[in-house]
């Protein structure tokens, strides 16, 4: 399997974050939005990094999760 292509992620905007929060059913004060965007960008970069490795579909989930 080939490595997933590095695609550029669209940067979240104030409007897109507000929509995503609303879709998920969360009401968040407006002054949190910039901080959320900043952290979403960091998470996007991490997601992009992890996607660089092509994992076979038979690579399972980690077997242990303790909720």
């Amino acid at each position: 399997m080939d490595s997933e292509e590095e695609k550029s992620f669209q940067k979240p905007t104030r409007s897109s974050v507000r929509s995503r929060l609303a879709e998920a059913g969360y009401e968040v004060p407006d002054n949190c939005i910039d901080g959320i965007i900043e952290n979403l960008v960091v998470l996007q970069k991490h997601a992009q990094t992890v996607r660089r490795l092509p994992l076979d579909e038979r690579h399972e989930l980690a077997p242990k999760y303790f909720p």
């Binding site: 968040v28 004060p29 949190c32 992890v50 490795l53 690579h59 989930l61 980690a62």
Partner: protein, 450 residues
């Protein structure tokens, strides 16, 4: 103030068991020391004086009756605010928990230590809910590095490291999902131990990242650490044998080297050469760090979803924004990170066919504590927040559940530099054998306070 508590745990216990010093005097001495230092310099946020003195009297009465109170008799210790203490609130470093229910019982690890004669003195400062590597808390203040008051102690368990480094107590109990105890141990020049994942009971600790959380001790003395570990494992037999011949040391270079200052890298290389080790690479270390960050965000945010969406302003802004952002993370990213975690664990096990113990820097850049006024470090050539980046080199190791011991390097500089000794899962005993060798050859040592 006396200094009878400013010794190793073993020295204290030997004297208490022999009746040469009372547990009451030890406890009073430790509490007086903590009060004299104040919260930010002692690391303590709350002192349970009545409980501790009551317990100390019971230890002394046991000795007077000719009985043995246990291998940690009269040894004072503290715990990060993540641990349940009976009839107290588990604050987890968070103002929002000031109305939380009182705990019904002590955490299992506290119970085990007290059954062995140790005495809980109080709780210690940490980043809110454990989410940060600085040791800075809006409610309890900043944990101050005992080696330089202008510098951070590191976090999240900054208070636990400061308490040990400042000699307020011989050992503390902290927690570690991503480096929460290893980072401050390194920056404060003490020994910190994260066991093989789940080797110690987490019962009665406030969760942060359920699939990564562990409990671990911090000490100034290797024998103290081994004794505390024995108690926390209920003296269970080791899961691996120590090799008869020389231990095989290796060093993870590659991605780790790319973000290390030349001076720190040279010190580590010299140490590895001195023990006959070779440099190799931890495959996909950068991905492991990224996966750890995704798993941390997703699991921690999920635990806080109800509270952070109902009362977001009750959180420190940095924690709140991290949680809220992670709530919007696609499930696919979390699941991909989990699949990577499992895969990487299998790959890492192969590395231990060639070496028993790997040496890895604990903290990137210069390896030393950032200034409180300028809490940043350089990473990938960019100035980054210490809050997020101090744990960059600890995250990949804990993602795959490897046991890790942080020890301070011997060097000419004024600030402590820590290295991680890393072994295969279940091979925790090898870490102590490796550390013993490094201490005996003078390559590592706990630095004296200035």
């Amino acid at each position: 103030m006396t200094s009878c508590h400013r010794r190793t745990a073993q020295a204290i216990a030997v004297d208490v068991r022999a009746g040469r010093v009372s547990a009451l005097d030890i406890c009073r001495s430790a509490i007086a020391h903590i009060e004299q230092l104040g919260s930010e310099r002692s690391g303590f946020t709350r002192i349970f004086e009545e409980r501790a003195l009551h317990r100390a009297k019971a230890i002394d009465n046991t000795v007077l009756a000719g009985l043995d109170p246990g291998p940690l008799a009269g040894v004072p210790f503290g715990v990060a605010e993540m641990f349940d203490v009976a009839v107290e609130r588990t604050m987890a470093g968070a103002q929002i928990r000031s109305g939380a229910r009182l705990s019904a019982a002590d955490a299992k690890s506290i119970q085990m230590l007290e059954r062995a004669g140790a005495i809980l003195i109080g709780t210690q400062n940490m980043d809110e809910f454990g989410y940060g590597f600085e040791g800075v808390n809006a409610l309890s203040g900043t944990s101050i590095n005992p080696h330089d008051e202008k510098r951070l102690a590191g976090g999240a368990c900054g208070g636990s490291a400061v308490a040990v480094a400042s000699e307020a107590v011989p050992f503390s109990l902290g927690f570690d999902a991503n480096g929460q105890l290893r980072v401050p141990a390194a920056l404060c020049g003490i020994i910190g131990f994260k066991p093989t994942h789940l080797d110690f009971s987490r019962q009665g600790t406030y969760p942060f990242v359920p699939s990564l959380d562990d409990v671990g001790p911090l000490t100034r003395d290797l024998d103290d650490l081994m004794l505390v570990r024995d108690v926390l494992r209920d003296f269970a037999p080791e899961k691996c044998a120590i090799p008869r011949g020389d231990l095989r040391f290796g060093r993870f270079g590659g991605w780790f080297d790319q973000n290390l200052d030349v001076e720190f890298r040279t010190l580590i290389q010299n140490l590895v050469s001195a023990v006959g080790g070779r440099t190799t690479e931890l495959q996909h270390a950068e991905l492991a760090r990224a996966a750890a960050s995704l798993i941390t965000g997703a699991e921690a945010a999920n635990l806080h979803r109800t509270m952070v969406t109902r009362t977001p302003m009750g959180y420190e802004p940095a924690t709140r924004d991290r949680f809220l952002a992670a709530l919007l993370m696609p499930a696919d990213d979390y699941l991909q990170a989990k699949r990577f975690q499992y895969w990487a664990g299998g790959q890492a096990e192969k590395q231990f066919e060639y070496n028993d113990v790997y040496i890895v820097p604990a903290v990137p850049g210069s390896g030393s504590a950032p200034l409180i006024e300028d809490p940043t470090i350089m990473f990938d050539g960019v100035v980054r927040t210490a809050r997020s980046y101090l744990g960059t080199f600890t995250q990949p190791i804990s993602l795959i559940g490897l046991p890790t011991l942080v020890v301070p390097l011997v060097h000419d500089g004024a600030l402590p530099l820590g290295i991680q000794l890393v072994a295969a899962p279940g091979a925790d005993a090898l870490l102590f054998a490796a550390a013993r060798q490094l201490f005996e050859t003078g390559l590592v040592a706990v630095p004296k306070l200035p």
